[in-house]
Each structure stands twice: as C-alpha cells, then as structure tokens.
C-alpha cells in the first residue's frame, strides 16, 4: 500500500464533506430524493474508506517507500 502523509489524510477528509453534501443535490437532479441520513451514511463510508487506506499504508508500506518519510 502507498503510504499517505497525515496532512494528505486530513485534506482528503475535508474533501469528503462537499462530496457527501453535493451527492444529494446530484441525486436530486435525477429525481432521486435521498433523505438526510443518506448524507450522513455516505460521509461515514467515505471516511471509513480513507481511514482504511491510511492505516493500511502505515502498516504495510511499499518497500521502496518504507525508508523515506
């Protein structure tokens, strides 16, 4: 796994917010009315995915990256 810096992790977390919020608007364009909890769930899923990549990257860094920071 690629190793992700804590700073990039933080920025990606911030990025999930507009994605989750606007996904509902986009769905609305197509006539799909998502309830508010859907936004919360999408947000949590995105956060879980990013956290997983971050943690895995820390535990199993690529060989060539392990030496660098």
């Amino acid at each position: 796994m690629r190793r992700m810096s804590p700073a990039l992790f933080l920025v990606l977390v911030a990025f999930t917010v507009p994605v989750a919020v606007e996904l509902r608007t986009v769905a609305g364009f197509f006539g799909v009315d998502l309830p508010f909890v859907a936004v919360v769930i999408v947000e949590l899923l995105l956060l879980a995915a990013i956290t997983a990549v971050y943690v895995l990257g820390r535990i199993y860094p690529d060989d060539d990256e392990a030496s660098t920071t």
């Binding site: 700073a7 911030a14 919020v21």
Partner: protein, 598 residues
C-alpha cells in the same frame, strides 16, 4: 541568509503594521459574522433584530474593505520592495498613507459601531454598499474618503519606487510582482474615481445637510462603477500569491511569465466597464446597457480561466519535480503539510466553485432568479470570503516569518486552521446557495414569515439553516485559531533563517514577453476609453431622468403610525356607530408600533 526584515527593516515594519490592522478587522468581522449566521437561522439571538443592520454593515466593511485592503497594501509594499530590490523612496510617505488609511478606517468603524449605543447620536447602518437613499453620519463618509485617499497615496508611493528603479534600469523588464502591483493600481485609480465622486460631491454634502436630496440611482451607479473593480482589487493580491508564491511552495516554478502579464493587463482593461451587471434589476437603466455590461462580463471570464490553467500547470510541474507521477497521483506528492500551500490550494479550488455560481449571477436572465437572495452571499463567501481571505491567511504563514524573522508558531495548527475554514465554508456557502434558490432573502434578520413556507426541492429549510449555523461556527473557530497562531508567532524569538523565501524564475521567462505588455500608459489609455464608452450614455440618461441631485430625501425616515390608527378608528366608528371602541388597546398598539419603528 538574510530575509526581508534584514534587508528592508523599515518596510517590514509598515507591512507588519498593515497586517496587524487587517487581522484586528478580521477578528471583529468574524465575530459579527457568526452572530449573524446564528441570528438569522434562529439558533441563537443575542442581539436585537433592530441592530442586525449595524452588525451586518460592520461585518461587510471590516472584512470586505478593511481586512482585505490592509492586507493588500502590506503585501504590495513587500512585493514592490523585494522585486525592485530597493527600499521605498521615502519611508515617511509610506507611514503617511498607512496613518491616513488607519485613521479613515477607524472613523468609519466608530460611526458604524456607535449605532449599537442609542445614547450616541451617530449611526451608519448603510451596509458596505453605502449608496443612497440610506444615509450615514458624515463621519462615516469622511472616514471612507480618507481611507481611499490613503490607498491612492500608497499607489503613488509604489509608482515613485518604479520611477526610481526605471531610472537605473532603463532597459530591464518590470519585475513580475511589481508589474502586478502597478497594473492593479492603475485599475484602482480608474475605478475609485466613481466612488470618490459619489462620496465627495453627493454623499458628504447630503449627510451634512448642505444639499437636500440626491439621485439614488446615480449614487448606486457610481458605487457599482467602483463595486465591480473592487472585487478584482481583492482578488489581485490573491492572484499575485497564486502566480508567484504557490508554484514555489509546490516545489516548482511559474509556468509562464508572459501569460501572467497578459492576465493582469486584461483585468486593467475589462474590470471597470462591467459594473452595471450589479444593477440588472435597477429600473431606470435601459436593457441595452445592461446587455453590454453582461457581454463585457463574459469576456472577463477569460483571464480567470487563463489563471486556472497557468496556476494548475505550475503546481503540477512542482509536484513532478518532487517525484509525483501519473495522471492524478501527482496530487499526492504535493506538500500538503505546509499550511501556506494547502490553504492557497483549497482557496483556489473553492474559487472555481465560486466562479461557476458567479456565471449565474452574471447572466442577465438567470440573475433574476437569485437577485438579492441568500445565493449572493453564498457566492461571495466563496470568492472574496475564501479565495481571497483564505489565500491571505495561508500566505501569512509564509510571509510573516520574512517580515518578523520568526518561525511560525505551529504549522500543524495552521494546517488544521485552513482545512477548518474550507469545511466550514463548504457547509455555509452550499446552504446559502441552496437557500437562495428557494428565495430566502439576504440582508434579513428574521427570514421567516407567517403562513408561508419556502418550497424545497432537495432537503428541508431546517437542514439549510443548520448547515449555515454549523458552517458559521466552524469559520469563526478557524479565525480564532488563526489569530492565536499569528499572535504566538509574533511573540517568538528571532532566528536566522525563518523560512525559505526564494522565488525561482518562471519556466518561460519575461524575456519572451512582448515588450508592449510593459507599456503601462497604453493600457491605461485603452482602459479609460472603454470606461467612457461603457458609462457615458447610461450616466447621461440617469442624470437626464432624475436630475443631478435627484429628489430623494434620506432613509430611514421615521413614519408616524398615528394617521393610520386615526383613519382605522374613524372607519370603525363609521362602520359601527355607537359601539364603544377600546381606546386602551389601540393606544397599546400604537406604542408597540412606535417601538418597532424605533
């Protein structure tokens, strides 16, 4: 290695002083911002709704005029001294404009805030757009005039520095940062004439009682003559940082110097003859003039799109220098740990979103949909409120060490701060845009009405309100953290090399730029011609229609409800003779109404 403060200690003091004033205004303005956000969403009402306009005026003036412009004059002073590589001609002149601007801003702020205290016979609840018929205390306008004259003196200071430099370097290209400063100031000189005429010839005499009436449409038009260029005045310091500093922070260098010059020249030409696009709904201006303003506005998209291309290309170049690869994976190689970089990158990204909502504002027909709704604050909190304000805060993390010789107190806290701003603004401005589409008005303390609900397409009004309130709180927190970090930096001890302040040469350097780009007189002349073409006929027709001094008295005027009550009483009496009317309750009603009016 010597940094700015070692080479130009006197200039560094002025820049630090300008930043200090800017940050004080930022702190007060942000406090009022969160109070408003919570008030109008009805989460927390600590002020009386009657005072809402006082706070809103203070918020607009302190943030959009004082914070941004004081940061700008500091930044430009830094840019002029470092890019000409010489001190300013006479530091007393520099301190003089700083003093004048600060005095003017203080007077205006005092006049506004006095409105919170009924015992002080002074107020200026005219909003930061301050056109008639709303009327402020003369001190407000006089402060504004001093502030603007101060910026003119600052411009003169930088042009004098240019003349000295030119004397010794007759054949050199103007250094890029200085070129940006000079072109921006040309635009500013051309555009502030409008507001200066409005303030000096109409608003000040009117508020002093020397003239009875004004022509409100004329003062509005003169305001917007200046009101669009001022948005570029806010934006140009951000562009200066994006073009010259951001690529360096990303690990690379600017892609093209000539292209950057073209962009700034386009802004000189096109910024002013578009102001009428803020008046699409004003009666009294013919549709044809509005159409011309719209066409010019659409041309104005060009330099911003050029900027997006050049800056992103330069940042990508930087990432590849740092070992980034792939179509998108290079993004991961950027220095996200650096709050200066991350803040500017997020600000630029949000500017793209703000640009899209700006295209809606600019379209004459779809503007009607969102005019004066909450959409508009949603738009400009992304542009001036983030693209500019966040770039300035982020830039501070790189500039302050050069100006003070001290390292930033905490870069991780800085990173958290810029990210918090981004998240807060996503919440607040997204909800403002959506609320505006539903017709929720801006500039309203209590946008809730009896027997009427805004119809929503997606989500509910309650969610929108909650999002605005949450966003406002996060933004305020971000400002508090920022101010703490800045104050703590100022309190540090000096070190030898506080920051790497070198700016590498652009990939495609100025030697390739056509010489005509540096011909400032030519661009000024064309800009003036365009302004004359765009404004002569509309102004002439406004004056012909309404007269130079018009016939509008000052607002707010106190209207008495007594005649209304009397009329109602006599109707009732004639309708039902003999039925005794409960005079007590009508008296109570009159009292309440008078209270409301006050």
């Amino acid at each position: 290695m010597a940094t700015f403060v070692d080479r130009f200690p006197e200039e560094a003091k002025v820049v630090q002083a300008s930043f200090a004033v800017a940050f004080i205004a930022l702190g007060i303005g942000a406090l009022f911002g969160v109070v408003q956000a919570l008030h109008r969403t009805d989460f927390l009402r600590i002020i009386d709704s009657v005072d809402y306009y006082t706070l809103l005026t203070a918020h607009g003036v302190l943030l959009a005029l004082v914070f941004t412009i004081f940061f700008l004059v500091g930044l430009f002073t830094w840019a002029v001294a470092r890019s000409f590589d010489r001190p300013l001609p006479d530091i007393r002149l520099t301190w003089a404009w700083f003093g004048l601007m600060t005095t003017g801003a203080t007077l205006a702020a005092v006049a506004i805030l006095a409105g919170l205290f009924p015992e002080i016979p002074m107020s200026a609840d005219v909003l930061y757009t301050f056109y008639a018929p709303l009327q402020a205390h003369p001190i407000f306008y006089i402060g504004l005039a001093m502030f603007i004259i101060g910026t003119w003196m600052a411009g003169a200071d930088w042009f004098l520095a240019y003349r000295e430099w030119r004397g010794e370097n007759p054949d050199d290209r103007i250094p890029l940062q200085a070129f940006m400063v000079l072109t921006t100031m040309i635009m500013w000189f051309v555009s502030t004439i409008g507001v200066a005429v409005s303030v000096v010839f109409f608003l000040i005499p009117w508020s002093l009682g020397l003239i009875e009436t004004v022509n409100p449409l004329l003062t509005r038009t003169l305001f917007w003559y200046f009101g669009h260029p001022v948005v570029y005045f806010w934006l140009m310091p951000a562009y200066l940082l994006w073009y010259t500093v951001l690529p360096k922070l990303a690990g690379g260098r600017l892609f093209s110097d000539p292209l950057a010059r073209v962009v700034f020249v386009l802004f000189v030409l096109l910024s002013t003859p578009v102001g009428i696009h803020h008046q699409y709904l004003d009666p009294g201006i013919a549709e044809g003039f509005k159409f011309i303003a719209m066409t010019n506005t659409m041309f104005l998209l060009l330099p911003s799109l050029l900027t997006a291309f050049t800056v992103v290309a330069s940042v990508e170049h930087g990432a590849r220098q740092r070992g980034g690869e792939g179509y998108l994976r290079w993004l991961g190689a950027l220095p996200w740990r650096d709050p200066a970089f991350t803040g500017m990158a997020l600000a630029g990204l949000m500017f793209a979103a703000g640009g899209f909502s700006g295209m809606i504002n600019a379209g004459m027909n779809i503007n009607y949909l969102i005019h004066n709704t909450l959409w508009v604050p949603g738009h400009f909190h992304m542009t001036v409120g983030t693209a500019v304000a966040l770039t300035m805060m982020a830039g501070t993390y790189w500039l302050l060490p050069q100006l003070t010789g001290k390292t930033v107190y905490s870069r991780p806290i800085g990173l958290l701060q810029v990210v918090l701003w981004f998240v807060g603004m996503v919440f607040m401005s997204n909800a403002m845009h959506r609320g505006g589409l539903l017709g929720i008005p801006r500039r309203t303390a209590e946008p809730q009405y009896q027997n009427f609900d805004f119809a929503t397409a997606v989500g509910s009004v309650g969610e929108i309100q909650a999002q605005i309130a949450l966003g406002g709180v996060l933004l305020f927190l971000s400002v508090v953290i920022f101010l703490f970090n800045v104050a703590a930096t100022w309190a540090q001890d000096r070190v030898d090399t506080p920051v790497d302040d070198r700016i590498p040469e652009p990939l495609s350097s100025s030697s390739g730029a056509p010489l005509v780009l540096d011909n400032l007189a030519l661009w000024t002349a064309i800009a003036v011609v365009l302004v004359v073409l765009a404004y002569t006929l509309p102004l002439a027709s406004i004056v012909t229609d309404g007269g130079l001094l018009g016939n509008s008295p000052a607002f707010p005027v106190s209207i008495s409800v007594q005649p209304v009550v009397d009329a109602a009483l006599s109707t009732l009496e004639s309708a039902a003779p003999g039925v005794p009317i409960d005079v007590h309750s009508t008296d109570a009603a009159v009292d309440r109404l008078t209270e409301v009016i006050r």
